[in-house]
């Protein structure tokens, strides 16, 4: 079937126009897809619009893609001129078919920079492209470029969500609200893409980038993310990237909360956006972090027991336990009065509730602990009076956990992972 160049040209013009019209007719299109349809049908439009889904029949792609691709390249090489509207339409068509085409995204960057294109439009195009290609690295990169560009253009000064030292004008509040909405939108885009492809590294990396560059370490956002991803990871137990995100959150929270603690020790300026930290108790931040780790280990335990044989969960356990181990180490070496009496709490394993009589026993079950005995008695009794102590993850409790898994275990993989974990505990943590 030989197609003349004019036929292809006519077809392509028509397809590009049809796509453009589809968007005009329905601004709520939320997904694009390829319709498997091998028969060539010149007379009919290959563009299908059903509900909010835009489909392209597969037969036209082999004509459309090389043609449009070529046209754009000729433009970039200055061999053929395209007006701005044509550029917008052509890049849109190209990117919906093949979003990994960097040149097309870059043309759109240029259009953005000279004010022809609305950045919101590009964010929308990215979202659509991701519905078909949830991993596409170039697409995520472009999204970050647009977000950064928007940040620069829309905020004259650096916007710190933490910094609510004194009441601001309405403009600042609106800025804040806009940022909140933007954050939510980014999390939604990431979650959608993560759901469309298992262990979608690019989607989760983008999510981390958003935390670092848009939320800028805001504690509330970090806490919210921890709670909102909990269910997701529980339903995606072999998604490494999802669990890695939680590891990142824990690390970030531990770092931010520790800094808050230090500010409280040496108060220069009271940060009062930190509703979660609670400034009243000087030990409070030291409680929050262990609690976070404890909860994460509990989640991990629950999932390992419910869904045997998923290596991701065991990897997650290693990461979390290691982070906890590191944090505890760093904070033991800090000022004596601030450090939690870890030797004592390590003795209180998950099986036993807190017990006054065991204060005298400071078993050095963990080789790494050294200076914790000093001055910890008064802290111990103070803590006991405050309420039930959280059993913190520790080497003995981890060994108990592994034994428990091995005795009830009917899955060969689970067996293997448990044994490997024990080996890791002994060689890395136990030293």
């Amino acid at each position: 079937m030989a197609e003349s160049e004019e036929e292809v040209d006519v077809l392509v013009q028509r397809v590009v126009k049809d796509i453009n019209n589809a968007f005009k007719r329905n601004p709520n299109i939320d997904e694009i897809g390829l319709i498997p349809c091998p028969e060539v049908r010149y007379n009919r439009s290959p563009i299908v619009l059903v509900e909010n889904k835009l489909g392209v029949e597969s037969w036209c792609v082999k004509f459309l893609l090389p043609y449009v691709h070529n046209k754009l390249l000729l433009y970039k090489q200055r061999k053929q001129w395209l007006d701005r509207e044509a550029l917008v339409d052509i890049t849109c068509t190209l990117l919906l078919l093949n979003p990994d085409f960097t040149t097309a995204w870059n043309v759109r960057k240029e259009l953005l920079q000279c004010g022809v294109l609305n950045p919101e439009k590009d964010l929308y195009l990215v979202k659509l492209a991701l519905s078909k290609h949830p991993k596409s690295p170039e697409t995520w990169i472009h999204r970050r470029w647009v977000l950064q560009w928007l940040q620069k253009e829309c905020s004259p000064s650096e916007q710190e969500l933490k910094d609510h030292a004194e009441p601001r004008e309405d403009a600042a509040r609106r800025q804040c609200e806009r940022l909140q909405r933007a954050l939510q939108e980014e999390m939604r885009v990431c979650a959608d893409a993560a759901g469309r492809y298992p262990s979608n590294y690019n989607a989760w990396s983008h999510r981390i980038w958003v935390l670092q560059n848009m939320a800028k370490g805001n504690l509330k956002v970090l806490h919210d993310e921890l709670s909102s991803t909990r269910l997701w990871v529980s339903m995606h137990v072999s998604d490494h990237s999802g669990f890695h995100y939680r590891q990142h959150l824990l690390k970030a929270l531990a770092r931010e909360l520790s800094q808050v603690g230090e500010t409280e020790l040496h108060p220069t300026k009271q940060p009062n956006g930190e509703s979660t930290a609670g400034a009243s108790d000087d030990n409070h931040h030291n409680d929050v972090i262990p609690q976070l780790f404890h909860e994460e280990m509990e989640l991990c335990t629950d999932l390992i027991e419910s869904y045997p044989g998923h290596e991701t969960l065991w990897c997650h356990r290693r990461h979390v336990f290691y982070l906890w181990h590191q944090w505890r180490r760093e904070h033991l070496q800090g000022a004596g009065s601030q450090s939690p009496p870890l030797t004592h709490t390590d003795v209180l394993l998950s099986e036993e509730p807190c017990d006054d009589s065991s204060t005298s026993q400071t078993m050095d079950v963990d080789c790494v602990l050294d200076g914790s005995k000093h001055g910890s008695y008064t802290q111990d009794t103070k803590r006991l009076k405050r309420g039930p102590l959280l059993p913190h993850p520790a080497l003995p409790s981890e060994h108990t956990f592994v034994s428990k898994i091995l005795t009830g275990c009917r899955s060969t993989e689970q067996n293997r992972f448990a044994i490997a974990y024990r080996k890791w505990l002994d060689s890395v943590i136990g030293q």
Binding site: G33, I35, P36, V61, L97, R196
Partner: protein
Amino acid sequence: MKLYSLSVLYKGSTKANLLKAAYDLSSFSFFQRSSVQEFMTFTSALIVERSALGSRASIKEQEYLCHVYVRNDNLGGVVIADSEYPSRVCFTLLDKVLDEFSRQVNSIDWPSGSPATIQYTALDSHLARYQNPREADAMTKVQAELDETKIILHNTMESLLERGEKLDDLVQKSEHLGNQSKAFYKTARKQNSCCEIM
């Protein structure tokens, strides 16, 4: 952790007859859903046809796990899930569904039944509820009941077939699959779906 389809079939002497099915295709891209559904029907029927009476099996095919239970009275059920979904819960679900089905639908109607004629409406709600395996069923109870050693494991669909039989041929001949699905199958087989453009 997803369930994609839940089907009840009758294992006839030469082929399996679909009685009722429920699907959750929300995680597939919109325009693929009708093909995916046809393939799930095709697969479920093929599995029941090639499974012995009184057997339970799990068949792995790409990133899917198909779990089947064919009872001694020729009633069969197939669950198609992803690889995260715990297989034990699938077998509990199959037991439950087939039991309920056999009490609600007279066995006289099984050999010649079809989704249009069979009066059994609970399949959709079962599928929806079991999307979260923990809400649907107490896992500990499940673990005690099922003897896993009796479940046959297949690493591919191919291992269900007779010597010399090819899956491609069965696809081409199948009445469950429309032309579009057959074409889709052809192109999908040739490509690495990771880098899919076409």
